[in-house]
């Protein structure tokens, strides 16, 4: 709890100072997906949107991030972090590899997973049978 608080305090300070936004840790008992309202029960498919000056928005599924951005596009200067499906570590969306795995059961059923590198993706049995997914589509909420 304390470390979460510290992380948030750091975030607060950082966002005041205008530094690069840092991802917040998810409380797996209490945090709720900003789109589907469900308690986030695993970090491995989670994502977060850090808009400048705004509270961080957490998602339990990359699909929820996509759906959220569909209705409310990310403001200028936002940062999106996605969790590495193998480790749960936070990766900037720009640096991540997104894979769509048909039939893979993610919390909301999008079948989307993220990895830090293509090597990690290939190491992850979950991404077997998946195909690369365009990050731009994720950000634009699926609109062309």
């Amino acid at each position: 709890m304390r470390s979460i608080g510290m992380a948030l305090l750091t975030l607060a300070v950082a966002s005041c100072a205008g530094g690069p936004p840092q991802p917040v840790a998810i409380d797996l008992v209490n945090d709720v997906c900003a789109h589907c309202r469900m308690v986030i029960s695993t970090q491995k498919t989670a994502a977060q949107l850090l808009a400048p000056g705004e509270e961080p928005k957490l998602f339990d599924d990359l699909g929820c991030l996509r759906s959220f951005l569909e209705t409310a596009p990310a403001p200028e200067g936002s940062a999106v972090f996605v969790a590495d499906h193998l480790t749960g570590d936070w990766v900037r969306l720009e640096d991540a590899v997104i894979t769509e795995v048909p039939g893979l059961q993610t919390p909301m059923g999008s079948g989307l997973v993220a990895h830090r590198t293509t090597a990690d993706r290939d190491r992850d049995p979950a991404s077997r049978g998946g195909r690369p997914f365009d990050k731009a589509i994720l950000l634009s909420g699926g609109r062309p």
Binding site: L28, V29, N30, R37, S41, D60, G103, P125
Partner: protein, 479 residues
């Protein structure tokens, strides 16, 4: 995360090796759409009853005498397995205790012990069903990751079972009490579920009847998505950390259910996310953090419910359309409405609001002035979570009062045009059955008020008596 599970499960189904830790995915427990099922348990882990089952013919009724039977059991025939004197099925602790794989099987009257074993990735359950027309009746299941798991099992009947979760395990490491996935036309009646992750998890399963069940002391009492045309009657969802949540579903009916004491950070008595055409009648939603929550949900109808003692009675996102609240009683809620967004077309009519306090001069049972649900503060808190910290402050009340005096402050008010003046008699709404209090605590606490009265009175009375010198009569002695 499910694919490693599936892949490994496929592997493991054959070998039954212990599952590596990284495959134990603490996710929302979506079952695999395809893939491995636990089959026949390996020899050292098989229940002695297995031979009985193997020897039976479809349609047989096998009566099992009292006793403890260690090991797991595969039911692959349409038989009835009936316990006489509550025999105990004590699982191997590595997989599901009872695995029903044949249509029309029945299991009844057992105590089932999951021994805290197995793993979520393989959906380890007390009773795992992957076949149509299963009946599970009067079983007591404890220490299993999932209580009863229906996987693509249509027309199941779950009746009078008791499921007790694994104590002291975080929600991420246990499964649901009753997990229903891709199974149609089920009947779930009279079950008791305590201390699991979610009481009932229902996904992609329609046309079911859920009646007279009670789920308490867990995360979601009801966790529900992509399931239409289900009927919920006389159930109780209590003391959940998150309450009851329904998503992406249509035409659900709730009658005479209780949603009680769901008080976690994100708790809602009944949460609807993109649910349409739901009907909720004669339910009691009391002592929840938030009573009813509507987001992106349309044409839902709430009638004759009691929404009581919530911090916020109703939360409405302006993405919800044409919902109706009629003839409900809103009693003792700290705040009637939190509106997220600018405006709502939700219709409130003929409800009772205990904090209205407007008289009924002509005696028609309708208060003379409309009830105003929204105010500036509610707009603020709707769009800024931290404002909740001030919801009980004087400032919030002052804003509310100012708004009643100067309605111009709230340009788009939410009104109940004809609020009831008196609490309606809602005979079909169930009563609260209060959770039993530990007697010892009750006895000790009952002294406190008396102690306080005495302490206060003592200080005031003794303090008012003079410690400073004697009063009349004593001075003669001194002189």
């Amino acid at each position: 995360m499910s694919v490693p599970r599936i892949a490994l499960a496929t592997l493991l189904a054959a070998t039954l090796l212990p599952v590596p830790a990284d495959a134990q995915v603490g996710d929302d427990a979506q079952p695999p759409s395809t893939g491995a099922l636990e089959g026949r348990p390996e020899p050292g882990r098989t229940s002695p009853l297995q031979s009985l089952v193997d020897a039976a013919a479809p349609g047989d009724r096998i009566v099992v005498p009292a006793g403890t039977y260690e090991g797991d059991l595969l039911i692959d025939k349409a038989i009835s397995l009936v316990g006489d004197g509550r025999p105990v099925l004590r699982g191997s602790g590595t997989g599901s205790v009872v695995r029903i794989r044949a249509a029309g099987a029945t299991i009844e009257g057992f105590d089932i012990d999951g021994r805290r074993g197995g793993d979520l990735g393989r959906d380890t359950s007390g009773v795992h069903v992957a076949a149509p027309r299963a009946t599970i009746r009067d079983c007591r299941i404890r220490d299993a990751l999932f209580g009863i798991y229906l996987r693509e099992s249509d027309d199941a009947v779950l009746e009078g079972n008791t499921i007790v979760g694994i104590p002291d395990r975080p929600p991420g490491e246990v499964g649901s009490g009753i997990h229903i996935w891709n199974s149609q036309r089920y009947r779930v009646t009279g079950n008791q579920i305590v201390g699991t992750r979610d009481g009932m998890y229902i996904q992609s399963s329609s046309h079911g009847v859920i009646r007279g069940n009670r789920a308490r002391d867990l995360r979601y009492g009801l966790h529900y998505m992509f399931s239409d045309d289900n009927l919920f009657e006389d159930n109780s969802f209590e003391t959940g950390a998150a309450g009851a949540a329904l998503m992406y579903s249509e035409r659900i009916t709730f009658r005479r259910n209780r949603f009680l004491r769901n008080r976690g950070f994100a708790s809602v008595g009944l949460l609807l996310k993109e649910c349409d055409d739901l009907v909720a009648e004669d339910n009691l939603m009391a002592d929840n953090a938030r009573g009813i929550f509507l987001e992106g949900s349309h044409r839902n109808s709430f009638r004759r419910n009691i929404v009581a003692m919530s911090d916020i009675a109703v939360v409405i996102y302006d993405s919800s359309r044409t919902n109706v609240f009629e003839d409900n009683a809103f009693v003792g809620n700290l705040s009637p409405l939190s509106l997220v967004g600018r405006r709502t077309d939700t219709r409130f009519a003929g409800n009772y609001w205990s904090d209205h306090g407007e008289p009924d001069l002509d005696g028609d049972g309708i208060a003379e002035r409309p009830y105003r649900l929204s105010n500036v503060f509610d707009h603020l808190r709707g769009n800024l979570t931290a404002a909740d910290l001030f919801a009980q402050g004087m400032a919030a009340r002052a804003l509310g009062a100012a708004e009643r005096a100067f309605p111009v402050l709230d340009a788009v008010p939410v009104l109940d045009e004809r609020p009831l003046a008196r609490m309606p008699r809602l005979a079909d709404v169930p009563d609260v059955t209060p959770a039993p209090e530990p007697a010892a605590e009750a006895r000790t606490t009952s002294l406190w008020p008396a102690v306080m009265v005495m302490a206060g009175a003592f200080v005031l009375i003794a303090g008012g008596r003079s410690p400073l010198g004697r009063r009349a009569g004593a001075q003669g002695g001194a002189a």
